[in-house]
């Protein structure tokens, strides 16, 4: 006993010594936007840092190190990386943006960690509601964009009102760039397979019962109808479920709620899950369970399924011969969902800038935001990833270059749109969107749990960390 007490005493003393030694470090820590002080020369920091070029009077190039998930093999990199390059070329010698690769699943978590340590990068894209409201906005960690936007009417006037509202705080500051491009999400289908199955009615004009019958027809004709998945954030499945819910009475309101929804036990949810279960059991591929986005995409691209619920960024894949066969693109049709539902939203945070930057870094970041919202870049974006800008008059070149599939989606929108909703991912707490929904899907799909139980389990999980 006595020995242990002595041990504790010794430890207390050493603890005090250690703390005394360490406290020096803390003083130099906060708000560090220069290269880190770790000592080893191979450190990198996630902050923007200024690199010095050559001699005395030469203007220094401002370099921004930005971690982002639209890099590497991520589907968003195809457009984003060249865009960054174009920016770098335009501002060569003045500003430079260096993208650090990070997987999509980890992006938000890293941003949260960096925010904790006051080491946010100069540009951040997105943020979940709770984090933005309780941490960033509450502690004023963002750079107010309002003054800058007010000075740029050509940009501000293009922005959608609803999105400006969403991004404006109670005291009139603008947190992140309001949206200019509206990108509805629909589905793609294989026209050949649909023809072979004798389906003639446009999907956007069908009810879900009719859609159900169409799926059965496809199956009878020997095709697997749906490309579903349960891995990662169960993206295609999630879109499908959103469309289902949108067609239930009361579903559209829920899908458009401004706050997170934590309860999924209402009958409309249960009916949705029932349908989902039936489709998982009958109308999708064997490898849907456990499939990740790449598997689902591959199923559609290699013509193993007739349909995939996905957004416009996939269009580039249809002519990519490393992923699909020659001429596949001609077989692809697109549409919004049965019941005239389309998923689109202006609610969400997009690009924002942290508040602790040096002036030249802010200028660089703002230059980037201005660049990507210039008419040429907007058109390039729409050509590559679809969408439309309600307030922009597009040039004739744009119309001519517009991908026929995008044109088809636009016309489907114009003719048949009845309801616009957000996707489930936007009203679910982040944990449910990924990974809980995907983790419970296999149990629902193989019948281990009923749709009722599925709803209960998810509700339970959603409320666990509700604040």
């Amino acid at each position: 006993m006595k020995r242990i007490l002595k041990a504790l005493l010794l430890l207390m003393c050493s603890l005090v010594l250690v703390l005394a030694a360490c406290s020096n470090d803390k003083g130099t820590n906060s708000n560090n936007s220069s290269t880190s002080t770790g000592g080893s020369s191979s450190n990198t920091s996630n902050n923007s840092n200024t690199s010095n070029s050559g001699g005395g009077d030469a203007k220094q190039e401002v370099v921004l190190n930005i971690p982002h998930y639209k890099s590497g093999e991520n589907v968003g990199a195809k457009f984003f990386l060249p865009q960054v390059e174009r920016f770098n070329q335009k501002y060569a010698g003045q500003y430079k943006i260096v993208i650090e690769e990070i997987p999509q699943d980890d992006y938000m978590q890293k941003i949260k960690l960096l925010a904790q340590q006051n080491k946010l990068p100069a540009l951040i894209e997105g943020g979940d509601k709770v984090f933005m409201e309780e941490v960033i906005i509450a502690n004023n960690l963002f750079y107010d964009l309002k003054p800058w936007l007010d000075s740029k009417p050509e940009i501000k006037n293009l922005m959608m009102e609803a999105s400006i509202d969403y991004n404006t705080t109670a005291d009139g500051k603008i947190v992140s760039m309001p949206l200019i491009v509206q990108r509805p999400i629909g589905l793609y289908y294989n026209k050949e397979m649909f023809a072979a199955a004798g389906i003639t009615k446009p999907i956007s004009q069908m009810t879900f019962d009719e859609f159900d019958a169409a799926l059965e027809a496809l199956k009878q004709a020997g095709y697997t109808p749906l490309a579903l998945m349960t891995g990662e954030n169960a993206w295609t499945t999630m879109l499908l479920t959103s469309a289902l819910l949108a067609n239930e009475p009361g579903g559209a309101e829920i899908l458009n709620s401004k706050d997170y929804v934590y309860d999924y036990t209402d009958p409309m949810w249960i009916r949705t899950f029932e349908r989902l279960q039936k489709w998982f059991q009958n109308y999708t591929t064997d490898n849907a369970i456990g499939a990740v986005y790449a598997d689902a995409a591959n199923n559609f691209l290699s013509e193993r399924t007739a349909l995939i619920f996905n957004g416009t960024w996939m269009i580039g894949d249809f002519s990519d011969t490393s992923k699909t066969s020659e001429g596949f693109k001609d077989k692809v049709g697109t549409s919004i969902y049965p019941g005239g539902a389309a998923i689109s939203s202006s609610a969400g945070y997009t690009w924002w800038i942290p508040s602790n930057l040096k002036q030249e870094e802010i200028d660089a970041a703002l230059a980037f935001l201005e660049f990507i919202n210039s008419p040429e870049e907007l058109e390039a974006y729409m050509l590559a990833e679809g969408g439309n800008v309600p307030k922009l008059d597009t040039t004739p070149e744009f119309e001519a270059q517009l991908d026929p599939i995008l044109a088809e989606l636009n016309s489907s929108l114009q003719n048949d749109l009845k309801i616009t909703v957000q996707s489930l991912e936007q009203i679910w707490p982040p944990q449910i969107a990924n990974p809980e929904f995907g983790k419970y899907l296999p149990l629902l799909a193989d019948g281990t749990i009923t749709p009722q139980k599925f709803a209960e389990e998810l509700t339970n999980m959603a409320q666990q960390f509700k604040n």
Partner: protein, 275 residues
């Protein structure tokens, strides 16, 4: 006799089983890395049609593999050396001297073995943040050094105890000071203990995943195990490249092991006795 025969067959069956389950997974991955995606999807058991290194070249050239490899090497190496030094000092004192808090301290150090590394994740994360070392190799070096505390102490203390006291006394008579006796007399004689502890620690640092994951972010300081997770997303449908990446990540560890095989066997077993 029949029963002896059965026993022999049983023994060899177990041995074959052991070799199979230890090597087959890796061999399968290596073999598959030479097949095209189509071949892999077609028949997992077939031999590759041709030995095609293009996936390897692709991974090596385009995915910063060299950086990750060097990071792992540097971090594991420096952490091992640092740990060996710090714990040799402490172990020496535990082995050769008596002092008031000796057993109390020894108990405390032993108890650290029971603490699962992941349990301390959040405080260590905060500590690294407070020291402003997030996303640095230094952070990992320090954290890894701490992992070896109990193990290295055990091994080194036991080894120091085998150095005869007479040598120390002789050196003392010759006028050697405390440090000299440690550095010039004892240390050279505990080479095997140092090698043992060093190898064990190096291997565990080389393979560490969890802390490397939460303490680094950019590619510049990433280590091999974490790079694997990134490859997983990057290559999700391209099995050929994924397998090539897996092989490249796994192979250095195996090669290092094969080089130091004998020593590893002895060291792992000896810790069992002490602990």
């Amino acid at each position: 006799m029949l029963s002896k025969w059965i026993r022999t067959i049983f023994a060899y069956a177990v041995m074959a089983f052991t070799v199979a389950i230890s090597t087959f997974p890796i061999l399968w991955i290596i073999m598959s890395s030479f097949k095209t995606n189509k071949e892999i999807l077609g028949d997992p058991f077939s031999l590759p049609v041709s030995i095609d290194f293009s996936a390897y070249l692709d991974v090596l050239q385009n995915y910063n593999f060299a950086t990750y490899f060097l990071n792992s090497l540097m971090i594991a190496g420096i952490a091992t050396l640092l740990a060996l030094f710090i714990y040799a000092l402490a172990a020496y004192v535990f082995a050769k001297f008596d002092f008031r808090l000796k057993s109390a301290l020894y108990i405390l150090f032993t108890v650290t073995l029971l603490v699962p590394g992941h349990a301390k994740a959040q405080p260590i994360f905060s500590l690294i943040m407070d020291m402003d070392l997030y996303d640095t190799k230094t952070a990992l070096v320090l954290v890894y050094t701490s992992f070896g505390l109990a193990l290295a102490l055990f091994i080194l203390r036991a080894t120091f105890m085998t150095v005869p006291k007479d040598l120390d006394e002789a050196a003392l008579i010759d006028g050697a000071g405390f440090w000299r006796i440690f550095w010039s007399v004892n240390l050279p004689l505990v080479r095997s203990g140092l090698a043992t502890a060093g190898i064990l620690m190096f291997l565990s640092y080389w393979n560490e995943y969890f802390y490397a994951l939460i303490l680094t972010t950019g590619a510049a300081n990433r280590t091999l195990p974490v790079a694997l997770a990134f490859f997983d997303e990057a290559f999700s449908y391209n099995y050929t490249r994924m397998f090539a990446a897996l092989t490249l990540v796994v192979l250095p560890g195996i090669i290092i092991y094969l080089l130091v095989q004998e020593q590893v066997q002895k060291s792992v077993a000896s810790t069992g006795i002490k602990g």
